[in-house]
Amino acid sequence: MLPRAGARSTQETDIATDPRSAAPSPDAVAVELTGVTKRFPGVVANRDVSLCVRTGTVHALVGENGAGKSTLMKILYGMQRPDEGTIRVAGREVRLSGPADAISAGIGMVHQHFMLADNLTVLENVVLGSEPRRGGLALDFAAARRKISEISTAYGLGVEPDRLVADLGVGERQRVEILKVLYRGARILILDEPTAVLVPHEVDELFDNLRELKAEGLTVLFISHKLDEVLSVADDVTVIRRGTTVATVDPRTTTARQLAELMVGSELPSPETRESTVTDEEVLRVEGLTVRDAAGRAVVDDASFVIRRGEVLGLAGVEGNGQAELVEALMGMRRADAGRTTLADEDVSDWSTRRRREGGLRYVPEDRHRHGLLLDAPLWENRILGHQTESSVSRGPWIDRASARADSTRIVEQYDVRTPGIDTLASALSGGNQQKFIVGRELSGDLSVLVASHPTRGVDVGAQAAIWDHIRAARRAGLAVLLVSADLDELIGLSDRICVVLRGRIVAEVDPSAVTPEQLGSAMTGAQDDARGGAA
């Protein structure tokens, strides 16, 4: 797919000529970790981990949330110092006291959360820390631009050096991250959950890129929660459970189910159980909703849909096609430029977020840290957030602390939030438990519609199953749900109907029982539309 000659040209432009970039022998070991232990206060994130990664392979790392994958990779990238254990790169033991050491050892990392400065250009983000210079002091922009373009074309990344990162979509940002690593001439790439935010089409592109890198002799370490992906791209898969490596398996002889069992010691939960609970009572009706951005472009363009009692409407779409804006407009957090929203027969188009929430609209936000929680506040105060006017937590102008606390305890028990207590700060919980708490909170009181944005993103299989169960139970009890998700299995498994958005428009409606993720994926990218990323 990619011109091999082009790929080779990258090596000629490497800043540091890496002696290890000589032809890889298939059985050479790129990275070897032995007996790595890393303790955080109260947690042993990694316990006696041993890992051996062969040169020129894609090596996947799987495990539950909090199993210690990211920590292990951060250790390998010099961002965390291990308490015990040794790291060998290409056979030589190394001491990594910072990312700079890792970079010079030929290791590069793409982080779980993008490490990009929005207000800097792509070029600035890429060269940061290894800037080409002119005259010893000045940054050589021309050289940097040239080199970035070269790498970009060589690997088909399609990255423009002078754009502001703030203006890029998720997929593009990911490619910038990869370019950052390649730019430094890394021979070992660590990708922490690179596919979490990508649609299948982009995932395929990414995997093509990975295979390309592999063919060049590069080594890829790759973390994902999506087991089928892992099986399709990896040469080896290592499973981490509770901080320890439990097995390294051959993907050709392993099934997803077996992997999951290794991860959690239980069966892979599945989102699909369908017995329709849809009624014909309309709860939410959206007509002609349009939202424009600063430049006047319609990011949500004349969107119309209806959700009924007991129905889950899935919204599928490549990230950045207006879902976020649609959801925010629906919640009243963003002004709609046109359109009408009716909630239980009432026109709520002019209502504030507060009134909409009081009217029974609930929200599981996409970014729980930004929109869902007060991280510095204890759980019971987080129970109040968004429900300030609800009788269960307040009386008139006063906060009812006792009931808020009692109800928080209920949520913690009912939703299996693993926490020592409701006085624990929200920031002390793991992501999955934070998410369970949010779901529990939003599903309490009188509600008629739940807007759930990526409710299980980055949440491990256990918590994921629990959240799915709760949504399903609420649906049975008559809840109308708008489910926005990038996880197509989740969409297909949970939804009664799926709308596909593309460039802010709802372009198709599909029946989840008659669609495969692949079909859905191509609908999301506009079927014949292959302009994105320039893939053939």
């Binding site: 961002m79 910072g98 800097l120 940054l139």
Partner: protein
Amino acid sequence: MTAAPPPAAPEHSSSTVDTTLRRQSRVTLTRGRLLVGAAALLVTISLVRILTGADDITSGGTVSAALALAVPIGMAGMGALWSERAGVVNIGLEGMLILGTWAAGWAGYQYGPWTGVLAAVAFGALGGLLHAVATVSFGVDHVVSGVAIILLGTGTAQYLSSVAFEGVPGGGDTQSPPVPDLPSFSVPGVAGPLSDLQDTGWFLLADLAGILRGLLTGVSALTLIAVALVVLTWFLLWRTAFGLRLRACGERPEAAESLGVNVYTMKYAAVVVSGAFAGLGGAFLAVVASSAYREGQTGGRGFIGIAAMIFGNWRPGGTAAGAALFGYADALQLRRGGESVHALLLLVGLVVVALGVWLVVRGSRRSGIAGLLAAVAVLVWFGLTDVVPGELTGLTPYVATLLVLGVAAQRLRPPAADGIPYRRGTST
């Protein structure tokens, strides 16, 4: 703000309010537009001068005074810029400025003005170092540390001067002995002709002559250095690897850290430089603008410097422009206050009329009409009076800043991680 410290961290980082507002109108400021705008402003000012006879508003003396008043503010602003570009809010600049004035007085009277300048820079940098220790190493809320440093700077300078200057001839508890002046420069041969041209009062030409005369004659060596430092700041921060790293620490320190940049080092460097700039501003106050350290000499210029930097959208050119605006307004009111500020009313009225019309044309009916109404009020005031009372002329720089910000604040974009304490290894 994932890890907001307990004493609420007030900061001017992008809030939802700011961002939504910013989205409403994004007109890029190209160099061309800037030039056209400046030219239009100059023409209007010239018109106003001719209409009102307030010749001082573009006189060489005003411009030169404005320049001198702008330098300490600009240096404080440049200090704020360095610090905030690396993500550290530095409210403590006022304290560092005070330390600078003291050191300049102390070293200046004993070892000459240049040594005084160096000592001021060193003392300012010391203040910056203290701020860096508190904010970078200890992760203290930036504003808190800044406030403490103002207190410490004030107390220390007062204390030191009572120790060092009391009983010294020409000095005292609250002031140092006189410090010799620094040399100043003029472009040879221009003063006379420009002065003559200015005296003609010709439309536009006289104004240009006045401005040039103010900028080209009798300029202190320290002013030249200050201007050079603005340019140098721009070059260092936007054209070098060091600058890129420093700015990255203010935008996304985790990203910088993950690429092997030592965020702590960069922040330390930035905040120390920031203090050094404030020290230099203090030296200017003590050595050039006056000839000794005096208690209370800084008069809140550190805060104004921060305002100038915000006004300048966290950019060196903008910051310098903000300082210049402030210096200009201050010079006007201190010189022929009543008359010049009165003329300024006409200028403001005209500019706001233009702005209001522009807003209405662009569809922001409400803001436009509000602007027009305000303009009418200002023009009526202008028409009904001959001078502005002395108590009010002093407000010119502050009102001007507030007005300009009210119009332009939405375009401002602070560094994304400005004011947020950073701790190594806390990234996810």
